[in-house]
């Protein structure tokens, strides 16, 4: 691993809180190792800002290994930046050039209000899950895990859908700020598995209704969400949710 360093101009969205209007600020950052991750680059900027007595840039992050879903920002207009299936924390500075100008913004969506700088409120996702994204089984009720065989292909598809990390990149990338990819991933996972089948009609109706109530936009199948998703969640899930929804409205006892 050889070490190169690059100088950057960062144009970053600064907003003190939800009530105050935000604006872009420019920062120069020099000598950034190309082996640093994108968030480590921001750490370096922040330590410099603190030393100068200025407010550091607030951003959400935790596991820094691509699975917790806490980090996420628009980097030059792309959710999580230029790499496919890569969260912001797994993006590295070797992807950028010396003297690049990088624009960094928070997720932009009515349903994700800005809390501060690059931090947004994604609790709308929690409320969509609360509306029905679960199997109603109390602890202790479960039969033996091998009592119901699950065809491997169903388990694999369920696992593909369950890999969603709940970061919100799909919403941020969508011109309508739709949450269809997120919601459909959970609907799909549970509809594909036998344990989730008894509530499948009720689940899809409630989750879709909650999604609309939270002011996420409509889906027009342009696929920006799939392209931005760091967990590789496929548009097939949206198709599957649409089928589930149709079945629930036309062929079930749910109203």
């Amino acid at each position: 691993m050889s070490h190169a360093t690059i100088n950057l101009t960062l144009k970053i969205w600064r907003q003190p809180n939800a009530e105050t209007k935000g604006r872009f600020e420019e920062y120069k950052l020099e000598g950034v190792s190309t082996h640093a991750s994108f968030l480590e680059m921001l750490d370096i900027l922040n330590d410099e800002l603190i030393e100068k007595g200025e407010e550091p840039v607030a951003f959400d992050h935790d596991c820094r290994e691509g699975v917790c879903g806490m980090c996420g920002m628009m980097i030059n207009g792309q959710a999580h930046g230029p790499d496919n299936e890569t969260t912001t924390c797994q993006l590295h500075m070797r992807r950028f050039q010396h003297n690049d100008k990088i624009t960094i913004e928070p997720w932009r969506a009515t349903a994700f209000p800005v809390v501060k700088d690059l931090v947004v409120d994604r609790t709308a996702f929690d409320r969509i899950i609360t509306a029905g994204g679960y199997v109603s089984v109390n602890t202790g009720n479960a039969p033996d895990a091998n009592a119901i065989p699950i065809p491997r292909k169903d388990q694999q598809k369920a696992m593909d859908a369950a890999s969603c990390i709940g970061c919100g990149a799909c919403v941020a990338a969508c011109k309508n700020a739709s949450a269809m990819l997120f919601t459909s991933a959970k609907v799909s996972q549970l509809a594909l598995l036998p344990h989730g089948k008894s509530e499948r009609s009720e689940r899809v109706l409630k989750m879709v209704a909650k999604m609309d109530e939270e002011q996420f936009g409509s889906c027009t199948n342009t696929g920006e969400c799939e392209a931005a998703c760091p967990a590789g969640i496929s548009l097939d899930n949206i198709a599957r949710m649409n089928r589930e929804y149709l079945k629930a409205t036309l062929c079930s006892n749910e109203s």
Binding site: D43, C63, I129, G166
Partner: protein, 646 residues
């Protein structure tokens, strides 16, 4: 500090039920007093942390009918660091018909813990392990399946049977989301309220019982009083005391440490697992270390250049100038030497100047020979996803250049002391999962952390907490109670103090320096002199911290610098206890290696006559000597024996 000056006692009551080990949990459950179903709604319970243990506990307590307040520091309960666990979860199902049993899982775990865990707790863990798999499957956790639709198992370290259930390389994520969904179901039912972006900063104690917590709202800076009838702590481990670890950046010791300062004993803080195969530091800016699965050592060969400070690219170093030091030193185990041995050996080579990469803190894990032997396709099918992740982080392609690895702090076996009910030494305060000490002894086996977190949350605390609630009376308390006001003042005072220092160094800089001290003197190899130095240096750094810390912004806003400073302030106190415990334990066992206590061929040397006990420390003030309380460990079912790797 000389250990002889410590005050020592044996006052701990572990509440282990009498009788044969197979019957203890049943006996305990029968003896526990019950809370009538219609009375459960009269009790309020606080659960801090929403990982596997906390999420499972809050959901299950809600299902039972209690009113639960669930707290997490992240924006959502789905983010807790349990989510990053890769490998799997153990259970004694014996689906592969290969000789597994509850007894064998119990035996392997006690032995793997190098005989420093509590037999009764470990047996219960093995007993409920099967229920966990059933429960998670019913929640919709997509465990790997065979073509016939039945569950699949794989092998893991420390066991000769296949008992590990898994969801690709994301088992922790799937189990956590299962618990999270159960939790959100209780939110929907009105039994659980979620308080996200809240940090617990103190515990409220009234009449000797835990009755609430003080939190800081991380968005507004508001300090809040939350009262309850019992408090459950599921706040994870303290690996980030070392600054660099495989933990999430937010993982911290603050909640546990604040409880310790209020009277909860802290057990075995020196027991830390350092995992040998992590992606090494590449520079000073590094904020975390990422684990690469141990399974890579099945085909990769570990080596360093024989010549010190050899800067040639790996491919230009001929075989006779490479030192395959694990194969040389441990011919029978070779590259598959146990975690603690492999970690220490890597450190030794780097300390001698043979380390590679710009920092000199890395060794090679080379697949050249395996690729030549089996072909690239075979290696890709076994490790493709790991090679991909490695390339994403380092930019190097392991099919063509060797991986670079180095050990990193991964998991902490120590934690708050708890009895068989998972109750700390403060009545009404419970600790679950990595936050307690009880099940893994001095070394945790792979795929056991997920098992313990969910066992504690789904199947232990829902029973034992009722006993506390049923046996005591709980007067109604308001936020104006003197104890609440005192805890509130205490928290505000500390935050104000941090805000008013006005120095020059950032919290991150202090944290990095503290981590360096712990890594150098309380890391993979410890000595008496080194630990004494560590204590001195930590004390010195702590003084500097309180004089030279720089904070910007104010309390009444989202202030990540202040959050970090509060956590670093607690590490500054806690680090001294780690070193004190390591100094007291004059033996080597599991992850704790004291250089003075090793055999002629560098194996760990336990001293069962003197140290077969849990060291539970009582807080006596910052910078004051803590008191040592010993819980003697009895091994009636798994006879004490030396772990051998020969």
């Amino acid at each position: 500090m000389a250990i002889a000056e410590l005050s020592i006692s044996n006052i701990l009551d572990s509440k282990i039920p009498d009788g044969p080990i197979q019957d203890k949990w049943d006996k305990c459950k029968f003896d526990l007093k019950l809370v009538n179903p219609s009375n459960k709604r009269k009790f309020n319970i606080i659960v801090v942390g929403t990982g596997l243990a906390g999420g499972a506990a809050a959901a299950t307590l809600g299902e039972l009918g209690y009113n639960v307040k669930s707290f997490c520091i992240q924006d959502s309960p789905r983010r807790a660091h349990s989510i990053a666990a890769q490998g799997g979860i153990n259970a004694a199902k014996n689906y592969p018909n290969d000789g597994d049993s509850i007894w064998r899982l119990f035996y392997d775990t006690v032995k793997g813990g190098d005989f420093r865990s509590r037999e009764a707790n470990v047996y219960r863990l093995a007993q409920v392990s099967n229920n966990i798999i059933d429960q998670c499957t019913a929640q919709g956790v997509p465990f790997a399946r065979e073509y016939g639709g039945f569950l699949m198992n794989r092998s893991f370290g420390g066991a000769q049977v296949s008992r590990t259930f898994y969801c690709r390389g994301q088992t922790g994520q799937q189990l956590l989301l299962g618990a999270y969904q159960s939790l959100m179901r209780q939110v929907s039912a009105g039994k659980v309220n979620i308080y996200s972006r809240r940090e617990m900063l103190d515990v409220i104690i009234i009449d000797g019982k835990a009755r609430g917590i003080i939190t800081r709202n991380l968005v507004t800076g508001e300090f809040e009083t939350h009262t309850a009838d019992a408090v459950v702590l599921a706040t994870g481990g303290y690996g980030n005391a070392w600054y660099l670890s495989t933990n999430g950046n937010g993982s911290n010791v603050t909640a546990a440490w604040r409880c310790h300062k209020k009277g909860a004993f802290f057990a075995n803080p020196c027991f830390t697992q350092i995992h040998p195969t992590c992606i090494p530091r590449s520079g000073d800016y590094q904020s975390k270390l990422t684990l690469m699965s141990e399974s890579l050592r099945n085909d990769g060969r570990v080596w360093v250049p024989k010549r010190e400070d050899d800067n040639r690219p790996a491919k230009d170093i001929p075989d006779n100038e490479r030192d395959y030091y694990l194969e040389r030193r441990y011919p029978s185990f070779g590259n598959l030497a146990p975690r603690d041995i492999a970690s220490r050996a890597a450190k030794l080579e780097c300390d001698k100047g043979h380390g590679v990469n710009d920092t000199g803190q890395a060794v090679y894990l080379d697949f050249r020979d395996a690729i030549a032997r089996d072909g690239e396709d075979v290696i890709r099918s076994k490790y493709g996803n790991l090679f991909h992740m490695y390339k994403k982080i380092t930019g190097d392609d392991p099919y063509h250049v060797p991986m670079q690895i180095y050990p990193a702090v991964h998991y902490t076996m120590g934690g708050l002391w708890v009895d068989y009910h998972l109750q700390t030494t403060i009545p009404g305060l419970y600790a679950l999962g990595e936050a307690n000490f009880s099940d893994h002894g001095a070394n945790r086996l792979g795929a056991s952390a997920l098992m313990q977190g969910l066992a504690d949350g789904y199947f232990v605390i829902p029973y034992t907490i009722g006993d506390h609630l049923a046996r005591h009376s709980f007067e109604k308390i308001s936020e104006d109670h003197d104890a609440c006001k005192e805890a509130m003042e205490n928290v505000k005072g500390r935050v104000n103090k941090i805000m008013s220092i006005g120095g020059n160094r950032t919290p991150n800089q202090f944290h990095k320096e503290l981590g360096g001290i712990l890594w150098d003197y309380a890391g993979m190899e410890r000595t008496k002199a080194g630990l004494e130095t560590a204590i001195e240096k930590v004390q010195g750094l702590r003084s500097e911290f309180w004089e030279d810390l720089k904070i910007v912004g104010k309390n009444e806003e989202l202030n990540q610098v202040l959050e970090k400073a509060g956590r670093v302030a607690d590490y500054m106190e806690f680090a001294e206890l780690i070193a004190t415990d390591a100094l007291n334990r004059e033996e080597s066992c599991g992850g704790h290696f004291r250089a003075e206590h090793q055999t002629a061929d560098n194996e760990a040397m336990r001293h069962d006559d003197e140290f077969a006990y849990v060291a539970a420390w009582e807080f006596n003030g910052v910078g004051e000597k803590p008191s040592l309380h010993k819980e003697q460990l009895e091994f009636e079912n798994v006879p004490l024996a030396t772990r051998s790797y020969k």
